[in-house]
């Protein structure tokens, strides 16, 4: 049969199936737009020529009517639209129950002109003559008390107006009383609320490697790595010994991020995810320049070999300049150092300060500035 709503008697593909009017049966309403009607069975084809609820769901009328409802042109417009989209099906007679002609006429009189303003036509399939007069022999539908003016796809303003649910908490007031922007928590906007704060983020941002919540909670507990592994920024797990070895192992290369740091206590390099000092033996100016450049801090402005204070807390770990450091071109500093032992012959560590190389200067402007005698 042409529509999926045929009875099993038609299921066999018998000749009666070719006659559409034999394929009558009621089916539950599944079109979200019309899930709050005073009836819950429908049958197809409907009064707009759609053959199934699936076709109705993607029809232009199913986006036209909800938008038109926002204008408030007629209180029962949504009810009328649903009697066309998903006509009532009488479970006894298996017949469709149409809207009354007066309902059709009222909706058209009140709302057709609004469509005209935006250059749209009233749906031509819905000619009111086809519907019975109310009070006549044929039963027809009129809105009863309590019929909801808004559909489940709408948000009902405090004032009673209906606006599309997508406009709820979208940051722009659409209700005449702005009530669509009241009490806008994260869930109203289909967002995820950061624990401990009112910050809302898209669910796709959770565990995506970019911290969005205060306290970075959206990137916490995103991976379960073994004891001898470390979690990459994208929550992959990489063996601890590969961390900051100068070669990428995480697919986002985060195992080689922030391996080198400078602070008042000097140069610190991460290796196997632990902090090391750099032994000053064999250190040289090229490595100082590489360090500042790698950190994007410009050029070395001060380099010192500082005697390590044995009283300072924490266990001493030393990295040494790799004998082949100069052959490792294109490698970051951490790839040019090596673990040799926990001793450093001179017991001196590298301390380094960088200064932004001469960026942001405009020497040519000075050129024009020299004084010209008048």
């Amino acid at each position: 049969c042409s529509s999926a709503s045929c009875q099993s008697s038609c299921g066999g593909g018998g000749s009666t199936c070719n006659l559409r009017n034999n394929c009558t049966a009621c089916e539950p309403i599944s079109l979200e737009l019309c899930m709050n009607l005073p009836y819950n069975l429908t049958s197809y084809p409907n009064y707009l020529g759609h053959q199934s609820q699936r076709e109705s769901a993607v029809s232009w009328e199913s986006s036209l009517f909800p938008a038109l409802v926002q204008t408030g042109c007629y209180q029962f417009l949504m009810f009328y639209a649903c009697t066309l989209l998903v006509p009532k099906c009488d479970p006894l007679t298996l017949q469709r129950v149409p809207p009354c002609r007066s309902l059709c006429r009222t909706a058209k009189e009140k709302c057709e002109s609004v469509l005209g303003i935006v250059g749209l036509q009233w749906p031509e399939d819905s000619d009111c003559v086809q519907f019975p007069e109310d009070g006549g022999d044929a039963s027809c539908l009129l809105p009863e008390d309590g019929v909801d003016e808004c559909s489940p796809s709408h948000f009902k303003c405090r004032s009673g107006r209906c606006v599309l649910a997508t406009k709820r908490c979208d940051g722009h007031p659409d209700c005449d009383d702005r009530s669509d922007e009241d009490h806008c928590g994260c869930s109203e906007r289909a967002l995820w609320e950061c624990p401990g704060s009112s910050v809302c983020i898209q669910t796709s941002m959770i565990c995506d490697g970019f911290p969005d919540c205060p306290l970075l909670v959206d990137e916490a507990n995103c991976s379960v790595c073994r004891d001898n592994e470390v979690s990459c920024n994208n929550h992959q797990c990489v063996h601890r010994t590969l961390w900051c070895d100068g070669r990428k192992h995480c697919s986002d290369s985060s195992d080689e991020w922030n391996c080198v740091s400078l602070d008042s206590s000097g140069l610190t390099v991460l290796r196997t995810a632990s902090e090391y000092q750099v032994c000053a033996d064999e250190w040289n100016p090229e490595l100082s320049a590489l360090t500042c450049q790698q950190l994007g801090l410009g050029v070395p402005s001060y380099v010192a070999m500082v005697t390590d204070d044995p009283r300072s807390p924490g266990r001493r770990r030393w990295l040494h300049v790799h004998p082949e450091w100069s052959q490792r071109n294109g490698t970051a500093l951490q790839g040019r150092l090596e673990k040799r032992s926990h001793a450093c012959h001179s017991r001196k560590k590298v301390s380094l300060f960088c200064s932004r190389d001469d960026c942001g200067l405009r020497p040519a402007v000075g050129v024009h500035r020299h004084r010209k005698k008048r």
Binding site: R247, S253, Q294
Partner: protein
């Protein structure tokens, strides 16, 4: 640049022109290191391949590049992974040149802001570019002074858009000085102590600027992206293999 003026040769040595094939100048860009420039992500829409692009520096007159200009190919384009074209958020790209530039009087990098360094609201900074109002493109590099506007005040100009922390606003209520098409990707720079200029914004979007201009321009907030920028340079310099 609306309401701007012709800039002197060498006044903005970090300004570059991002050019593609027959189109010639498409967007502005900013030199931040000998081999690295910044621009905005939306300039590459539909033209993501690096070999389609050329970067020209040391330009004053688009039509007559002159002896001070330097032309480089593009080795790679790194668009921010979170770039959102619908709302023009995370609108930034790092551009790796195919060879280092030679630093001269007319070609020099600008400073990147330090972490959390922001321009002072209501302070005056400069925007530059070869943008236009939909009519004739100026050949000479234009410059204009704009005032930094707070995000909350900026949001009031754009009720249909969200101004995010990745954005920076500058300009005037009446839009008297503003950036326009073709300026995208160009710099918003502010002068700091000692005459050092720092890059705080990249021209990104705004209200229509070819008719009556209303409201300020919106720039990508470079401070927000400095760690990401440094990371991309580091990864593409030291971890290529």
């Amino acid at each position: 640049i609306l309401g701007g003026r012709v800039s002197r040769r060498g006044a903005w040595p970090w300004q570059c022109s991002l050019q593609s094939g027959q189109s010639g100048h498409v967007c502005g860009c900013v030199l931040i290191a000998r081999r690295w420039a910044l621009t905005v992500a939306h300039c590459f829409e539909g033209r993501e391949r690096a070999d389609l692009w050329t970067v020209v520096l040391g330009l004053s007159n688009l039509d007559h590049p002159g002896v001070h200009s330097q032309r480089r190919g593009v080795r790679s384009i790194i668009v921010h992974p979170r770039y959102n074209r619908a709302v023009v958020d995370y609108d930034i790209s790092v551009v790796q040149l195919d060879a280092e530039v030679e630093e001269t009087l007319y070609v020099r990098p600008v400073c990147l802001p330090r972490p959390s360094q922001l321009p002072t609201p209501d302070s005056y900074c400069y925007i530059t570019g070869w943008g236009h109002m939909g009519n004739r493109m100026p050949f000479k590099l234009q410059e204009g002074a704009v005032r930094i506007i707070s995000l909350s005040q900026c949001q009031s100009y754009f009720d249909m858009k969200t101004i995010t922390p990745r954005m920076l606003c500058a300009g005037y209520d009446a839009g008297t000085v503003d950036s326009c098409m073709g300026d995208s990707g160009g710099p918003l720079v502010c002068e700091g102590p000692g005459g050092f200029w720092t890059l705080f914004g990249l021209t990104s979007w705004g209200s229509v600027c070819f008719s009556k201009v209303l409201g300020p321009g919106v720039y990508s907030n470079v401070t927000h992206f400095t760690p990401w920028i440094q990371q991309q340079i580091y990864l593409n310099t030291y971890l290529v293999h």
